[in-house]
């Protein structure tokens, strides 16, 4: 992660985590990014949690959490973003999803002399690395360490609470038609495990596999989790899907709706998401309440 | 003259968007049991006249009567049992056998989904035999030569058992041997009672085999008459816009030779 900070400091191009080869012995200047455009909603949330929300000069249209984030100017989409809208914010750092869609963006930003930080954003380990990387980028490693510790503690508390329970079999209904779920590549798979469940398609080595209806029925999950936006209605009620009536979760009406905004974000609230999932999967458990997030400060 | 097969009165037709009509105010009678040859320069309206007579386009003004009835009153299948057209059409894009192709001539007689009856198949075989294609019946149409395709087209028309056949440029792309065969075959059909209207550029063969000749020029027709009257150097020169020499070769017919525009006064070699 030194790479990111250095690259920021010398105002040079793209830098992915893990490419720790940026120039040693460069002139030491102030490395802290002061004008950040965050094209990852979860990174927006992390920066606010670090107390560095005031460094944000741009967010994606989806990056509306915490509520203060709404006040940050919206630059549009996070994948294949509008370079004009991003540059118009005169950023000194752009936070990007790492992936083929954004490779060209990072290169273009480098050409324009704007540093970027490309973050992989799939697993719980990615989250913790990203917290550290963002903390370093804005010059608040202490706050980042505290946030990282808090996330680890939250997840640990949930894991502790579900230790030894009978693991319920979970089908995570990303999309109904055609049926899409999550596999081992997704942090949601880890959250299900932490919450005392077992993803019926956890053996599939891909983040969002397109599976067969037959396989879902044969998988016979105990619980079906549906991420639903707070403002949405269920457009494909499970009970009405042909052939699903023999699934245990449907027969016993164990269908859990969880706020997609909470469950879909790999950010500081991931412990809260795990706890909510644990409560849904194991209503019989007495779960701890998580300590309220402490206010971190990021001076500068 | 008895009741004509076709009686055209005041026929006018312009293609949509065209500046001048392709056929204008045309009066024409085609006699029964005769072989009429329709000649004229390119763009004179010959193919348009064929379309008007076959009912595939409707005149803007005037009317065509076919066998004494307005053409517009004929149902398409009824018309196809009486009138066959051998048109200049591109070969079909989809491969099929010669027999299947000729069998299409039975379309006006059989229901659209039924198989051909044995009697229909016999008529198809006779049509193939009549044009000398029996040996090639199972070949693909696309494998035939130009002359053979022309024969297959004629066979398809014969399978319609028509009283009248219209042929649009039956000798186009044919060598002199095949062209002669085409005219002889049509003349033979006329001898057996059929009426034929043949649009052609081959004035020489037309003059030999046609009973009537019609010269079409700029959408108007001269009166149908015998070759000797129609093929006057003055009329041909006006129609074709080039000097011609007309030679009467007796039984071989009238031979029309274009003379070069610059030939006037040039000594013969």
């Amino acid at each position: 992660m030194a790479c990111a900070a250095l690259a920021v400091g010398i105002g040079l191009g793209a830098c992915s985590p893990g490419a720790d080869d940026a120039g040693a012995g460069e002139e030491v200047v102030d490395r802290r990014a002061r004008r950040v455009v965050s094209l990852i909603p979860a990174a927006t949330e992390i920066l606010f949690a670090l107390g560095a929300g005031n460094r944000l000069v741009g967010r994606t249209r989806w990056g509306v959490h915490p509520p203060e984030a709404v006040g940050v100017p919206d630059v549009g989409d996070g994948i294949r973003p509008s370079l004009e809208a991003v540059i118009a914010r005169s950023p000194d750092l752009v936070v990007l999803f790492e992936g083929p869609d954004n490779e060209g963006v990072a290169a273009r930003l480098a050409d324009l002399g704007v540093a970027s930080l490309s973050l992989r954003h799939n697993s719980l380990a990615d989250l913790r690395r990203n917290v550290v990387a963002l903390g370093e980028a804005v010059g608040c490693p202490a706050a980042a360490a505290a946030l990282d510790a808090r996330i680890a503690a939250d997840l640990g508390a949930v894991a502790e609470a579900t230790r030894g329970v009978d693991r319920v079999r979970v089908y995570y209904d990303v999309w109904a038609d055609p049926p899409m779920t999550i596999g081992r590549g997704s942090f949601l798979d880890s959250l299900i495990a932490l919450a005392g469940g077992r993803n019926v398609f956890g053996h599939l080595e891909r983040p969002s596999p397109r599976v067969g209806l037959e396989a879902i029925v044969a998988g016979d999950p105990d619980v079906i989790v549906r991420p639903i936006r707070a403002d949405a209605v269920d457009d494909a009620p499970l009970g009405e899907r042909a052939g699903w009536e023999t699934i245990r979760a449907v027969a016993t009406n164990r269908i859990v709706y969880i706020d997609a905004d909470l469950l879909g974000r790999l950010g500081p609230r991931v412990g809260e998401a795990a706890l909510g999932l644990a409560a849904a999967l194991h209503p019989e458990l007495r779960l701890p309440s998580l300590p309220p997030p402490e206010r971190l400060a990021c001076p500068g | 003259m008895s009741e004509p097969i076709f009686r055209c009165r005041g026929l006018t037709f312009a293609y949509p968007g065209a500046s001048s009509p392709a056929i204008r105010d045309l009066d024409l009678d085609i006699g029964a049991g005769r072989m009429t040859a329709l000649i004229g320069p390119n763009g004179a309206g010959k193919s348009t006249l064929v379309r008007l007579l076959a009912g595939t386009v409707r005149p803007d003004r005037g009317a065509v009567a076919f066998l004494g009835r307005p053409l517009a009153d004929w149902r398409r299948t009824e018309l196809a049992r009486t009138l066959a057209v051998v048109a200049q059409e591109p070969p079909p894009a989809i491969p099929q056998s010669v027999t299947d192709y000729v069998s299409l001539g039975r379309n006006p007689y059989v229901s659209p989904w039924a198989a051909l009856a044995a009697s229909d198949e016999r008529i198809v075989e006779q049509a193939l035999a009549r044009v000398g294609l029996s040996d090639l019946a199972d070949r693909r149409l696309t494998d035939l030569s130009g002359g053979e395709i022309q024969r297959a087209k004629l066979a398809r028309a014969l399978a319609q058992e028509p009283e009248v056949v219209i042929l649009d440029e039956p000798t186009a792309h044919l060598d002199i041997g095949h062209a002669l065969w085409a005219f002889e075959t049509v003349a033979d059909l006329v001898d057996r009672g059929m009426t034929a209207l043949c649009v052609t550029h081959d004035i020489n063969l037309a003059s030999r085999y046609a009973t009537d000749l019609v010269l079409l020029s700029e959408g108007r027709a001269g009166a149908g008459a015998g070759p000797a009257e129609v093929l006057s150097p003055v009329a041909l020169e006006r129609a074709y816009g080039c000097p011609v020499e007309v030679l009467d070769r007796g039984e071989l017919g009238i031979v029309v030779l274009p003379a070069s525009r610059s030939m006037a006064g040039r000594p013969r070699r």
């Binding site: 989806w62 990303v174 999309w175 109904a176 038609d177 055609p178 899409m180 398609f201 599939l204 596999p209 397109r210 599976v211 067969g212 209806l213 037959e214 396989a215 029925v217 044969a218 016979d220 209605v233 457009d235 494909a236 042909a242 052939g243 699903w244 009536e245 023999t246 699934i247 997609a260 | 076959a54 009912g55 595939t56 398409r76 009824e78 018309l79 196809a80 049992r81 009138l83 066959a84 057209v85 048109a87 059409e89 591109p90 079909p92 894009a93 989809i94 491969p95 099929q96 056998s97 027999t99 299947d100 299409l104 379309n107 059989v110 659209p112 989904w113 198989a115 199972d138 693909r140 319609q160």
Partner: protein, 333 residues
Amino acid sequence: MPGVRGRAAGLAILLTALATALVVGLTLGNVRIPPGQVWSALTGGETEPAIASIVRAIRLPRVTAGALTGAALAVSGTLFQALLRNPLAEPYLLGVSSGAAFGAVASLTLGAGALSGPAGTTVFALAGGLLAIVIVFRVAWTVGRVDPRVLILAGVVVSAFFGAGVMLLLALSRGDAFRSAVLWTMGSLERATWPGVAALAGCLAVAAGVSFAMARHLNALSLGEEAAAHLGTDVELVKRVAYFVASLAAAATVSLAGVIGFIGLVVPHAVRMIWGADHRILIPFAMLAGAAALVLADAVAQAAARPLVLPVGVVTAVLGVPLFLVLLRRSHV
């Protein structure tokens, strides 16, 4: 060219192929179930409830939808190729698929509640497909006749327009509709429900019946419109009716299963190469071949990477194109 005997043999071959495909499709699904249990689930014998559910409520409607969709695409493609005398003609040529995709994506992104549910999406897709066709025909219909050249051009342009409309809706939509919409345009038989299957069966029956009843007129049209008129065909009437039923069949398949390429283009060609261009034979044979091909392709899509499902349109192309190229090479068309 095959005679009566060749055609009888062809009918036997295609019926066997379809029967085999149906057995394979019902046996090989996304989940391994022993054939004996599949049989008893189908015949109402003793089985576990989950197996009965999978076979009767998921597999059987999917396989049935596959057979009907394959047949409908084949008859639609046959009609378009006959009407346009263009070997590249296929069911989606006139913008049916883009229009249907637009309707479906509109319901997914703009609709709420029942409108964006599976039934709403199907209805929107059908409406979108038919809308595209109506526009194309209004443009191509001049002075009492349909001009095939204008029709193709209008189809391509309208198709591009609705394709752009889909992209526009997706660009303005929230993230998760995007994935569904993209997958939707890839085609899948899994959304088949019995009411949807029944609706498709109705459209197919109309298209098949009407086109078979016009078989000799379609044969004549292969020579060109003027030649067909000389042979007694009421060309404009036949064209209007045939375009309508071909488009109806295509729209019905798109609204049920999305866009499944290759079947509607290639099956009619393959059948024509083997058994000739007589539509009295071609239409029923192409329907049987299309049904068998799609059911087999779907069986592969379901079973090749269990429990993942491959896009069935990809399987039809990957399996079918090499076979077709061999046929093309041998027939020298």
